[in-house]
Every structure is written in C-alpha cells, then in structure tokens.
C-alpha cells in the first residue's frame, strides 16, 4: 500500500504547496499504513530538493529531471506521473489545488480512469478508505466524498494543510523518462507578474482585501502600507466591485469568480460581504472586518469587527501593527 504526492516546483525550487501536499499525503499514509512517495519533476538539479521533501515526511522521492520541466509542461508531466503511478499502484495520489495542480490532476485522472476530488479542505481515512471533504456550490455546502475507484485522486486547497515536519531520510530514485515528442504539442511560457516580491493572494498567510468602501484606486496606498506592515507573507486582495471598476487587476479578486483563499487572517476593508465574496474567504482562520455600516453582512462572518470609516481606521491600524511587530 502506498500514497503518491505530486511535489510542485518552479524553476527548480520547491513551492510551499509541495510541502503542504506532502503533509496531506502523510495524513493518508499514516491512516492506511505503507509508504509515502513524492514525485518531483523539474529541471536538471532539482534532485537537490529531495531531502526537503523527506523532512516533511516523504519516505521516497522519485525524481525526473528535464529542461522541459523548468516550467509547466502539461503533457510531459502527465506522462511522467502516470508512469510512476502505474508502477506504484498507490491507494491515493495527492496534488495541490494550485493553478498547476488543478490543470494537471484531471489529466492524470483521465489517463488512470480514476476519481478526483478537487480543492479538498479535509482528508481522513475511515476503515481503510480515503475520504475527503470539499466545498461545493461556492462553499455554501460541503460534501463528504468517498472513492469507488482506485487510486483516489485529490487536490488539496492551498493553506488547508500547513507543512508539518516529520523528518526522515528519503530514498531518492531517478526516473528516466523519454519524453514522447509526438505528445509535446504545447509550449508553456511563464510571465512574471508585477509584484513578484509578494505572495499570490491565494497563497498568502495574511490577506488584506479592499472593497468599494475604499472609494477609489488612489487610496490603495493605505492598504499597501498595511500589507507592508504585516510583513512578507501578506498580500493584497480585492472585491469584484473593485475589479470590475478597473481599480485592481482580476488576479487579486477574491470570491466565487476570483480566487479562493484560506489565510491565517483575512482583512475585509470596506467590503460588504456579499455571498459571492464569502465564497472566496469564509474558510480563513480569522476574519477582520472594517466597515462603517454596522449592519453589513461581513460582520456576521467576522471574528473581529470595527465599525467606522476606513480612512480614519487604516492609518492607525498600520501604525499599531508596525509597533506590535517591531516589539517581537
């Protein structure tokens, strides 16, 4: 019995979501018994990352390196993963529900004729069977899913399984893959965003989102100051009203038609809390709302709320947070 996780990297560096996937894979492996294998597909040299996967609980790391794997190579990566999975006959295969994982996992599922549960927030093993809990209807309900085919494929929502160290000496094996040229019909190029120094809103530990209550794009410096005060793991988000108005790019939109985020803390600043916005942020651990309308729906969801004007509250908040963080 075994479990396989896909360990995502970018340009040879492991992504945080790879460690999260290994941690989720560990939960299943510990429930089922057997071995946890991480599959690492990357450019030459990526093998150096294998020890890190062992630190988070992988018993074995299968590495395939190719220049084609520096970026995302949907076809070659599907082939390589299918090969490892077919050889290992695992009970479960875990992906991260990142942009790459959500594109790759259905391809692999189709090849294996396996069932896939997307964007899983909780995994358990009941009587030797893998079960997953995942949001449906934009988070208005949660489904408990069982699998009727093997292996069970899951993609795990970023931040749902923060990495936990379970150190072991992982065995490293090289997989030689002859990439079938006839299957490499796609070329994928990556273009860095403008704010590459900040984490993506979907992967940040802290998210500061602004809504129409911010009154205009020129006032975003107030939110940027707060994000800066919160440190390097914080990112900016936005409501759809703000994106539709052209104040912020769509890549920052949180909600049903934007990104789903599960940070440690979510700041909703001048956001009313429409049901479609909630769909994107209701699984945050802690929600802070600032709104001048005490009846705004966001206060029903918020862990902590302050009623008042964002322009009076934001500078003070930034200042206090900066002070608190410099004390530590």
């Amino acid at each position: 019995m075994s479990v396989i996780v896909f360990a995502e990297q970018r340009e040879g560096a492991l992504r945080q979501t790879a460690l999260e996937a290994v941690t989720a894979g560990r939960v299943i492996t510990d429930g089922l018994g057997g071995e946890l294998t991480a599959v690492l597909l990357g450019p030459p040299g990526v093998r150096d990352q294998a020890a890190e996967l062992g630190r988070y609980g992988a018993d074995r790391v299968v590495v395939a390196s190719s220049d084609a794997f520096a970026g995302y190579a949907p076809e070659g990566m599907t082939d390589a993963l299918v090969k490892v999975i077919e050889e290992g006959s695992p009970k479960a295969v875990v992906f991260s529900a990142s942009a790459m994982g959500k594109d790759l996992s259905p391809r692999v599922a189709a090849r294996l004729k396996a069932g896939l549960a997307t964007d899983v927030t909780e995994i358990s093993v009941e009587g030797g069977q893998v079960q997953a809990i995942r949001p449906v209807y934009a988070g208005k309900a949660f489904a408990r899913i069982g699998f009727t085919a093997e292996p069970a494929l899951l993609s795990v929502r970023p931040k749902a399984y923060p990495p936990i160290e379970e150190p072991r000496e992982a065995r490293v094996e090289e997989l030689s893959i002859g990439l079938d040229p006839a299957r490499q019909r796609m070329r994928v190029r990556r273009v860095e965003g403008e704010s590459a120094e900040r984490p993506d809103v979907a992967e940040a530990d802290i998210v500061v989102s602004g809504g129409r209550g911010m009154q205009g794009p020129e006032n975003w410096t107030l939110l940027e100051d707060l994000v800066d005060a919160l440190g390097p793991s914080a990112a900016l988000g936005a409501s759809r009203a703000v994106v539709d108005a052209g104040w912020r790019p769509h890549s920052e939109q949180v909600g049903q038609t934007g990104k789903v985020v599960s940070p440690q803390v979510y700041f909703a600043i001048g956001i009313s809390g429409a049901i479609q916005h909630q769909a994107g942020m209701r699984t945050a651990k802690c929600i802070v709302a600032v709104n001048r309308d005490a009846e705004a729906p966001i206060f029903k969801l918020a862990t902590y709320g302050i009623v008042g004007d964002v322009f009076e509250i934001l500078p003070r908040l930034t200042e206090e947070i900066r002070a608190a963080r410099s004390e530590d």
Binding site: G115, L116, K140, T303
Partner: protein
C-alpha cells in the same frame, strides 16, 4: 471555424442551498437554474471566433436531463447554431461526464472545443482537461486571453504571481475564465430564432461515477464574532486580540 461549446445547467449563484432529506443532494424546490456563468464566456468566445473567421458553426452540447434543453435554448438564443442534448445524468466527479462528452464529440467535426473553467455547482474544474486527454488534444484551462492566428493558438492563463502563455496548434481545447470577454445578452430576435434552431437529442445513459457523495453538509458555523468597537479607538484592542487570541502577528 467549427466550434463545440460544452455547457451545463447549474443553480444560480444567488441561490440559497438547502440540503435534501436524502442528505446527499440539494433540494431543487425554488432553485433558479441558469446556464453556468463561465460557459457564457465560452459561448461568447466561440461566437466571436466564428464571426471573425466568417465561416463555420458553433454547436453547444450538454449532458443532462430533459430540463437541460432550456439551457441549450439560452445558448442558441445567444447565437449558437445547433445544440445537442446528451440525455443522461452527469457524474459527481468530472470523468464520467467527460467520457460521455468525449464519446459524442469524437464523431463530429471541430477545430476547437470550448468549456467554462468550472461548473458553479460541483466546482470540479475537471471536465475540460479530461475531455482533452480522452480525445488526445492539447488543452489550456482557465484562460483569460485567447489569440488564434491560422492554426496557432496562444492562450493566456492566470497562475500564482503572474501568468502563463500556452501555445499549440488546432484542434485543441480551451476553458474560459472570467475576463476572457463580456458575454452578450440574448436579443429578443435571438430568443425567437432559438426556438427554430436544431436541437438534437441522443440517449447516452448515466455517466459512470468514481466518487460517491456520502454526505452533504452546511458549512461549519463560524464562531460568533465580536464587534470590538467604533472608529480608530478600537484599533489597539483589535491588535491585542490578533496577537494574543489569534496568534497571528
């Protein structure tokens, strides 16, 4: 250019979800069903591409029950030329549905197959890439910008901290993300014409399910929150709570 657009009938995004007595499905009473919003982007893109090419057809296809005809009519009213209803139940995971769609598509003529990025009911994000894999076609998902020049496709997709540009030659598969275009509304004339457009029905049976919904639950109630006060004076208390209770700073 011949384009097939796969569409799904889903509950409107404003719908309050009530769980049925059976505990594994939603109670459809009083639920307004609509064409999946992401599929509107796919239809719009198909119509624009066909108009630009000056030739070809846009066919819409769905796997569903009798009631899904209404969804197909909506797509026809937007401007699609023909519609296909694959009669049968979709699967709770994407693969069974993808198999039925791929089967039906493989006998037809197409240059491009378009999808929405996600059905807003199951939120699976699976069917498009699965259909592509089953048909052996290149595929870009969650696309916000699409350029087609002759056979050459350039599809831009949002990824964490930037975007990716995927390039491949037709035929291929694309799934549409918000931002790709602004879907048109059906005109009155379009709605009238939709009634006369061909709607083919094929019995295909129910899709195979590889996952089973064991239970459908309302979201966990969040612990009741607290309004800490009004105005900037409440800020120090907020920061204290964030540090001491939420351990977040």
């Amino acid at each position: 250019m011949n384009i097939i657009v796969c569409v799904k009938r889903v509950p409107d995004s404003e719908t309050r979800i009530k769980i049925s007595e059976d505990g594994v499905s939603i109670d459809p009473a009083g639920v307004k069903f609509v064409l999946n919003p992401y599929d509107e982007f796919a239809i719009e893109e198909a119509l624009v591409l066909k108009e630009r090419a000056g030739a070809g057809t846009v066919a819409v296809m769905t796997l569903g029950g009798e009631e899904a005809k209404e969804t197909l009519r909506t797509a026809l009213a937007m401007g699609a030329d023909t519609a296909v209803l694959l009669k049968g139940a979709p699967s709770p995971d994407g693969l069974g549905t993808a198999e039925k769609l791929a089967d039906a598509i493989s006998g037809r003529e197409y240059d491009l197959i378009l999808f929405g990025k996600q059905g807003i009911d199951d939120d699976n994000l699976q069917v498009p890439a699965m259909v592509a894999e089953l048909l052996g076609l290149p595929c870009a998902t969650v696309v916000v910008d699409l350029q087609i020049d002759g056979e050459r496709v350039r599809a831009k997709r949002e990824v964490e901290g930037g975007h990716e540009v995927a390039e491949f030659d037709l035929p291929g598969v694309i799934s549409a993300q918000k931002g790709l275009n602004e879907p048109r509304y059906a005109s009155l004339k379009g709605i009238m014409m939709a009634k006369k457009k061909p709607l083919e029905e094929v019995e295909v049976g129910d899709a195979a399910a590889r996952v089973e919904i064991k239970e459908l639950m309302p979201p966990a109630e969040r612990a009741v929150g607290e309004i800490l006060g009004e105005g900037p004076a409440a800020v120090p208390e907020l920061v204290r709570r964030l540090r001491e209770e939420a351990k977040a700073l």
